[in-house]
Symmetry: C2
Subunit: 221 residues, 2 copies
């Protein structure tokens, strides 16, 4: 906004806006590529330790033999997560971000150029373990899934309304630990409904497999 009394005062360059705009364009291109190859792509976001990798392992076991799956593993520096998923016989691509706290659409684009997309029907993207930053960067996927965990304490949804709003589906993971942690899952789900009354919410234990079937059904593969 210009100031009529002193137009020369300040020029604000909104670097963030430009960065986000470029990312949205790259995301739209990724979406076209996925669509062209008939691939369903799922971005799985959540804090460190919420069980994103174990969720993907559980999904891969559940869908084994039904779909040809590719997994992208976003991580600062290690290949721990990709190695775990690869042990289930699933092809994986490691994307190490160095110090970057999220994946962006161009990283996915580069990764997509390294594979023969005709070989796959389903792509799981495990984002960098961080509940805040990944939500700002679209990757061009069909479904954005946010994984929260009963180990994260009672306030994590109320503290991250934008991340929740940005999701297409929410998984409340590690429900096998509800009793040990004396955790109130109903209250957490009510917090989610407060942000978005229609948000699909799934109570899952990636460890025991409980609830995975209903989540897979909702993915609409």
């Amino acid at each position: 906004m210009t100031n009529p009394e002193n137009e020369s005062k300040t020029v604000n360059i909104d670097i963030r806006k430009d960065l986000f705009g470029a990312n949205e364009n790259a995301a739209a291109l990724n979406a076209e590529i996925f669509k062209k190859h008939g691939i369903v792509a799922v971005d799985i976001m959540g804090s460190v330790g919420t069980g994103k990798t174990q969720l993907i392992e559980s999904l891969c076991e559940h869908l084994r033999g039904k779909y040809r799956i590719l997994m992208f593993a976003g991580d600062l520096a290690t290949t721990i997560d990709a190695d775990r998923v690869a042990s289930h016989g699933v092809d994986t691509i490691q994307i190490n971000t160095g110090t970057a706290c999220h994946l962006d659409a161009r990283m996915i684009r580069v990764a997509l150029q390294k594979v023969n997309l005709a070989d796959y029907q389903l792509v799981f993207i495990e984002n960098v373990g961080n509940l805040i930053c990944p939500a700002g960067y679209s990757l061009g996927v069909d479904k954005k899934v946010v994984v929260v965990s009963v180990t994260e304490g009672p306030y994590m949804v109320r503290k991250h309304p934008l991340t929740i709003k940005h999701a297409d589906m929410i998984i409340i993971n590690k429900i096998d630990l509800v009793d040990a942690l004396e955790f109130d899952v109903d209250a957490l789900e009510a917090d989610i409904r407060e942000v978005d009354a229609k948000m699909p919410v799934f109570r899952v234990s990636s460890k025991t497999g409980e609830g995975i079937d209903k989540f897979v059904e909702a993915l609409n593969l």
Copy 2:
């Protein structure tokens, strides 16, 4: 680095470097202000749900009547954490960052201008719940404490070596849950030693108060 064969090829503007440089200057100023007023300042970082607020509550109970304490609560949008600490009779300042995933030195500077620093001897700064981004931004404190939790799974240290390296002290929190989660604390501590063999590590339960006394001793107040 210039390319002698084609010097006009690319100009890289490292925005991050400029931003970090400005932050370091602001952090140095904060450090001077704290020193001038004889205040010990502690930056408490860690992912969401690692128990940073409960740790500060436990510290405030432990130090009640011995030190005049001020708490800065960094959070995207809510005042939940500041309210919890305030209930212990401690003065608090809420710093809402909106979408910013970390506190920076200038935010602290602004907050410092709103209080009479002669009233305090100890400042606890609870950073935004995020294990990656806060580590890149010095605030000008005496001690940078990273809180990890046994609820975060076994890989969180190996996945965040830079955050660990950046810390002055590490707290392994929620050790009261070790048995319920079948968690190997020794292995986690070994991962920390792998990054920094001399890092002071404290096993704490902010809930029961276990280990708080040793941590307070190490703060050297």
